[in-house]
Amino acid sequence: MRYSAFAILKNALRGNRDWVPAWRKPEPRSTYDVIIVGGGGHGLSTAFYLASVHGITNVAVIEKGYLGSGNVGRNTTIVRSNYRLTPNSGFYEKSMELWRELSHALNYNVMFSPRGVLNLAHTPGQMDTHAERGNQMRLMGVQSELLDRDQVARLNPGLDVSGSARFPVHGGLLQPDAGNARHDAVAWGYARAADQLGVDILENTEVVGFLKDGERIAGVEVMRNGEPMEIRAAKTAVAVAGNTGRVMKMAGVDKLPIETTVLQAFVSESIKPIIPTVTTFGAGHLYVSQSDKGGLVFGGNIDYYNSYAQRGNLPVWEEVTGELIAMFPAFARLRLLRCWGGVMDMSMDGSPIIATGPLPGMYLNAGWCYGGFKATPASGWCFAHTIANDKAHRLNEAFTLERFKDGNPIDELGAGPTPWYH
């Protein structure tokens, strides 16, 4: 059923009884051309682009829980491409390009809202590094504007731009066409569109092992409704974010340049619109925007320790709220509604891996750190290309697994091989 205002009216008149499931709940086939392990944003978008761009529709997406149960439904919904290093800026701008047309491509309103992403600067030196990044963006065809303090103040009325602030605001770097999207809708929209192209989405199906033909990965063993079964495929792709270590161990890959940590996200009670852009604090680590529902959605640093727990601890609460109300002292009385955690696949340089391998018949999409949500379209697009052609696209050719040992990290922060600092 095609979604439109007309469809809504027509169905409303019939008491909304004729709507059908957004995607099928099929029984698995025994063989597929491609298996994608992980029914999150990246797995689903990979499936969609495999089917829509490469004509590969005999595809299964295997998800151990409910669809979109991982980070695609746990993030702070920020979409941007304001990167410093060339491989990143090219890749994320491709993502922006796909975001702009995504609702139409999927016939699903993902509510992409280009309201602007503003990074504050608090010293003259930081203004220079922002300018350096902004210029890189411009040279790569990405919009960017360097704002002075007054321009920042006009954009965000509640922001403390006074000289008495502990870290006074000097200005900021704005990517005007970056913004937010509705996270769940992205997962559901990709799922529905992929499903309509023939992709089988297998929920509540947990991969418990990999099948091998000699050295080659030949599919997966799964548990479904408490029953084990085998699903074979010529190509098996893994896109499981924080669970990468867990899943790859089953394939016999014991070690990777990835550590899993927990990142908490926060939302306040709903209020009428008060901050128009996504704004980040430059003297610490905080990003905040306001959802369409009215809640302030924000987050900061990861909890600095390996964790698969999907929940974090109190110190990050204190740090993050402290920074938020240092930026916006008027928000001290607004109330925090909810905090949750997602597990991040922190790579050794803070940048992702989209590559063939590490075993024959296998493809890996991982290392997204904080940045996975905005990458969803381009990640799937590039991963689909890589799977279909057994070769990386120009946009993801730097995102190899070998780059670390080769000494070619893509290290935006220059923090080095300490995943918890990226």
């Binding site: 709940k25 990044r133 008027a330």
Partner: protein
């Protein structure tokens, strides 16, 4: 007072004093009584519409009497104290309180946005995902339609209105440690607290409401012959008097974190009319407990039926509490609708307090005689086996239409009967409030008998008691409280004498004995609009639509319909929503599962979480000369934690003019700069030399005593980590200096190697950054200046050669002088004890007066080193190697050191890497920070070939210059490019130079 205020007497209005209070709501003045909540006072004044719902803007009234309230949200106060979305049920009334309704225009009684209701069917779950896509155009145009619609949607959404005026109040924190934390002070919590307190361990009891006692405060039961309320007051008084017990009221335990760390918020002054400004508004408690007793009770849940959101419909026990505790009738004529016995208790207590109960409607046919008696006591008509078909009235309740109900099929009969009433008190059973344990990851378990989720097995050291653990009823609460107490004591390792470890018979209880298990009825489906989540306007039909569209997992249900995502987090709606989904899926509720509760338990002011950090985000580090800089008129700015002088502007001078003047003065004469912020690490021990040799790229083993050496440190991956000079005081004692920003991480880096990698080395590391004040004296006249003031040492070239060290005295201050140069000029760094720092500064300034000494700031410091080609933070960006910065000569090939192996990797010797060069402006234009180096014109710059790192105007070269990292830069000296800076609208022709711009041979600094 209005007709809704009952005749206050013993047992009616137990929470109220006799003091009248005035307050305002929506600009109109009302009176209440001390002890009222805003909700009870509004009800007592006959106001039934308090707020408007989120989506349809339907009129809503008070639904509960506690923190689970979904409907009665108001905005309190004004200006910087504006607080939206506050539940009227939680606000303790005080003289002069100002409250306003919200999410309505123009008024709460007439809201234009209520037209949304007309399109209700179209505004079903998932509505936004299916439309607003607009016409399919390429690129940005595709999103523009949504972008326009979104502006309107955002304005219509949201609840109250926030403010942009800073909050003038302050917040505080308290760190607490105890053996046992008791959460909740109702019967179970009280029993547990009594038991553990007697054993002498440290106990903290947290109670959400203003007074301890929980449900005992309004219980009609007698304990040990006393009314429950009085009995509990005595117990609490006794406990409060004990040294090992703290009872915190108005304190909600909001979060349960790892290792029994609890987070609670105490509302210190919110309820006071006159606030002492030294007292914080709220206090965040971080409580570490060895064990915990969680006795948080249960939350009543409603049944869902057509028209169930009308103002005047509220939970039965809340209606009862308004009558008993607040002496307020929830209506003139109350009908009770229930599926369990507690609805009957509510009816009886309402009637006893003087409220007219017209009818009791119970879905069950089979009702115990002992329960029927309760209905008869209150002279209500009794309709068993019946349910509500619809509610009469649009903006309130005029009556209900009931019909016979088949408990097995869930169907209503064809009959109907109208009962006149203006209030429906509804009870759909009780949901244990195990939110805290669920936050910890404990999986709730569905109990078919109790028709409720129970907390499941503990993952940490906590023990449930009372209704929270499914132990309903007073006697069970006392017993389970005692049991939990003993288990908690066992966790703390306190040995209990055998006698004491027995569960006592508990106090003697005289009260109602009822069955708390409800009939498994959650929804009466009669086709009308029935709300599951009142605040978010999620209807039973929405839940079924979600099911139809395949959103059947509980998480999908929540996300697709927004059920349970409102400010009440579904406290009164989650279980009902699940039950409706389970019915649609033909599955037992147990198989549907429940969503995980997340902290906080109720919304928490963000100022309170930040606590003392509000207004004090981060400590400032000040050098010993800070006050002098400020008094000299220096512009100070935050450089990480440090406050540092930028320039010492003369009147009328710009920053650029000032740093150029300061730089020139140094190059021509002498200047002094505060370098106290450099990291300083004391490195001592028989293996100190070996240790330094391993952590630096260059050799340190042979550094002579009395000399300093510049060193580079790498990370293990071969990239540069930090740099600085290290001074050798004697055979086994060094002073290492680091960059200002790197001080902390270098210390940790060194400690890691000392402790984890090479623990056999005898090396002691101590941070002495704060011990030493440092002043660099730079310029051709610097030696002259020192000669004027230094005693007891020789600062001549012979006595103090380049990189040499001496001890001396300046103005009675013992100093260490090292001949180091960051500026490229003849220069010295003078260190003294920090408490003498300002005295040293004054001494140097007065010694230099005849030499026209200038103080210089960070900008001039930076200009001097850029001209000299010395690298600093912007070049040590974590992505550069010594080879990239022209420092290959510093890398020893004769030894292994941290990073030496991975630095050998092939990629690091590639010729096209970004390499350090300098660039100078060819046309007098300023090179702005953050420029990229390109070959093309302003309009078609081409790709980036590199970027500038540190820029300034060079007085020495008479033009703008910059250090830069350029692809293959070493071989490109003399090449002409452009420094493009589109975000700063600049495009400057530049020439590439060697980064050694000033005195490349180093004659000046060695002179």
């Amino acid at each position: 007072m209005s007709a809704f205020r009952l005749n206050l007497r013993d047992g009616v209005g137990t929470n109220l004093s006799d003091k009248s209070i005035s307050f305002s709501f929506d600009g109109k003045s009302y009176r209440g009584i001390e002890g009222d909540t805003l909700a009870s006072a509004l009800l007592a004044n006959g106001l039934s519409i308090i707020g408007r719902s989120f989506k349809y803007h339907r009129p809503r009234g008070v639904f509960t009497a506690g923190s689970e309230e979904p409907n009665a949200l108001v905005t309190l106060h004004s200006g910087g104290r504006t607080e939206p979305n506050i539940r009227a049920t939680e606000v303790e009334l005080f003289e002069g309180l100002v409250a306003r309704s919200q999410n309505r225009r123009p008024s709460v009684n007439f809201d234009l946005m209520a037209v949304n209701q007309l399109a209700g069917k179209a505004f079903s779950a998932g509505f936004y995902y299916k439309t607003f896509m607009g016409p399919a155009l390429r690129g940005h145009k595709a999103t523009r339609f949504w972008w326009v619609c979104e502006q309107f949607i955002r304005r219509a959404a949201g609840l109250g209105r926030g403010t942009t005026i800073p909050d003038p109040d302050h917040y505080a924190r308290m760190n607490a440690f105890c053996d046992i934390l008791v959460v909740g002070s109702g019967a179970a919590g009280l029993a547990a607290a009594r038991r553990v307190a007697a054993s002498g361990v440290r106990v903290i009891v947290c109670e959400e409401s203003a007074r301890a006692g929980g449900a005992l405060a309004s219980s009609p039961d007698f304990i040990d012959g006393e009314p429950a309320r009085e009995w509990s007051a005595d117990q609490i008084a006794e406990l409060s008097a004990m040294d090992n017990v703290s009872i915190l009221t108005r304190t909600t335990v909001q979060g349960y974190f790892d290792d029994n760390t609890f987070f609670a918020i105490e509302r210190v002054t919110d309820h006071l009319a006159h606030k002492d400004r030294t007292v914080p508004r709220q206090r965040a408690w971080n409580i570490r407990a060895k064990s915990a007793v969680i006795a948080t009770g249960a939350l009543e849940r409603p049944m869902v039926f057509a028209g169930n959101d009308r103002p005047g419909i509220m939970l039965a026990d809340s209606a009862r509490r308004y009558a008993v505790e607040f002496g307020t009738a929830p209506g003139r004529a109350v009908a009770v609708f229930t599926n369990n016995d507690t609805g009957w208790l509510a009816a009886r207590d309402l009637a006893k307090a003087g409220v007219i109960v017209t009818a009791i409607v119970d879905v069950r046919t089979d009702i115990e005689a002992s329960i029927r008696v309760l209905g008869e006591e209150c002279r209500a008509t009794i309709h068993s086996g019946s349910a509500i078909r619809s509610v009469k009235g649009m903006r309130g309740v005029n009556g209900i239409v009931i019909a016979t109900y088949n408990e097995l099929t869930g169907e209503l009969g064809a009959d109907s009967k109208t009962i006149a009433c203006d209030c429906v008190a509804v009870s759909g059973g009780w949901s244990p409030a195990f939110h805290l344990t669920s936050q910890q990851g404990g999986k709730p378990v569905w109990d078919t008998e109790l028709q409720a989720f129970l907390p499941g097995d503990p993952l940490q050291k906590w023990h449930g008691a009372g209704a929270m653990a499914g132990e309903f009823g007073l006697a069970q609460a006392f017993r389970s409280g005692e049991e939990a107490a003993l288990k908690a004591l066992a966790d703390t390792g306190v040995a209990m004498p055998k006698q004491a470890a027995k569960i006592g018979s508990g106090p003697d209880i005289d009260g109602d004995e009822i069955d708390y298990a409800p009939a498994p009825v959650f929804e009466i489906n009669s086709g009308g609009k029935s709300f599951v989540d009142l605040q978010h306007d999620v209807t039973a039909e929405d839940v079924r639509l979600a099911h139809r569209e395949g959103f059947v997992s509980v998480e999908h249900l929540k996300r697709y319909t927004t059920l349970g995502m409102a400010t009440d987090q579904g406290k009164t709606s989650n279980v009902t929503g699940l039950a409706i989904m389970a019915a649609a899926s033909n599955k037992p509720i147990a198989d549907t599962g429940t969503t995980r509760f997340r902290p906080p338990y109720t919304p928490v002011a963000m100022g309170a979480i930040a606590g003392e950090k509000y207004g004090h985000l981060a400590a400032e580090r000040l050098t010993p000369m800070h006050d002098i800089h400020v008094e000299s008129g220096a512009g100070m700015y935050a450089n990480g934690p440090w406050m540092r002088p930028e320039t010492y502007n003369l009147p009328g001078e710009t920053v650029e003019q000032a740093y150029i003047r300061e730089t020139k003065a140094v190059r021509a004469g002498v200047g002094i700069v505060d370098v106290s912020t450099l990291g300083k690490i004391d490195v001592q021990g028989p293996d100190a030399a070996e240790f330094l040799n391993r952590v630096y790229t260059n050799g340190f083993a042979k550094l002579p005593v009395g000399k300093a050496r510049y060193g580079l440190m790498l990370r293990e991956d071969g990239f540069l980590f930090d740099d600085g000079t290290t001074w050798r005081f004697d055979e086994h004692r060094y002073l290492m200096t680091t960059t200002t920003a790197g001080a902390g991480r270098v210390m940790e880096h060194l400690e890691y190697y000392r402790d984890f990698v090479w623990p056999d080395l005898k090396v002691a590391l101590a941070s002495v950054s704060d011990e030493w004040a440092g002043v660099a004296v730079a310029g051709p006249k610097s030696r002259e200046l020192l000669k004027v003031c230094v005693k007891k040492c020789d600062v001549s070239d012979k006595g103090l050669p380049f990189m040499g060290l001496v001890d001396g005295v300046i103005a009675d201050i013992p100093v260490k002088i090292a001949r180091l140069s960051f500026s490229g000029e003849l220069a010295f760094e003078v260190y003294c004890g920090a408490h003498w720092g300002s005295a040293l500064w004054h001494a140097l300034m007065s010694a230099g007066r005849k030499l026209d000494v200038v103080p210089y700031g960070l900008e001039a410091l930076s200009t001097l080193r850029i001209e000299k080609g010395h690298v600093a933070g912007p070049e040590l960006n974590g992505r550069t190697t010594p080879h990239d910065l022209g420092l290959s000569g510093m890398v020893s090939s004769k030894k292994n050191f941290v990073g030496s192996v991975l630095l050998q990797r092939e990629t690091f010797s590639k010729q096209d890497r970004l390499q350090l060069v300098a660039v100078k402006s060819l046309d007098g234009q300023r090179i702005r920070g953050g420029s990229h180096l390109v070959a093309g014109s302003k309009d078609e710059p081409g790709i980036s070939q590199g970027h500038t790192t540190s820029t300034c105007f060079s007085p020495e070269l008479g033009c703008y210059i910059s250090l830069a990292l350029l692809e293959g830069g070493y071989k490109r000296h003399g090449e002409k490019l452009f420094a493009t800076n589109p975000v700063r609208d600049a495009h400057v022709a530049i020439e590439v130079l060697s980064h050694h711009m000033v005195d490349p041979e180093g004659g000046r600094m060695r002179g």
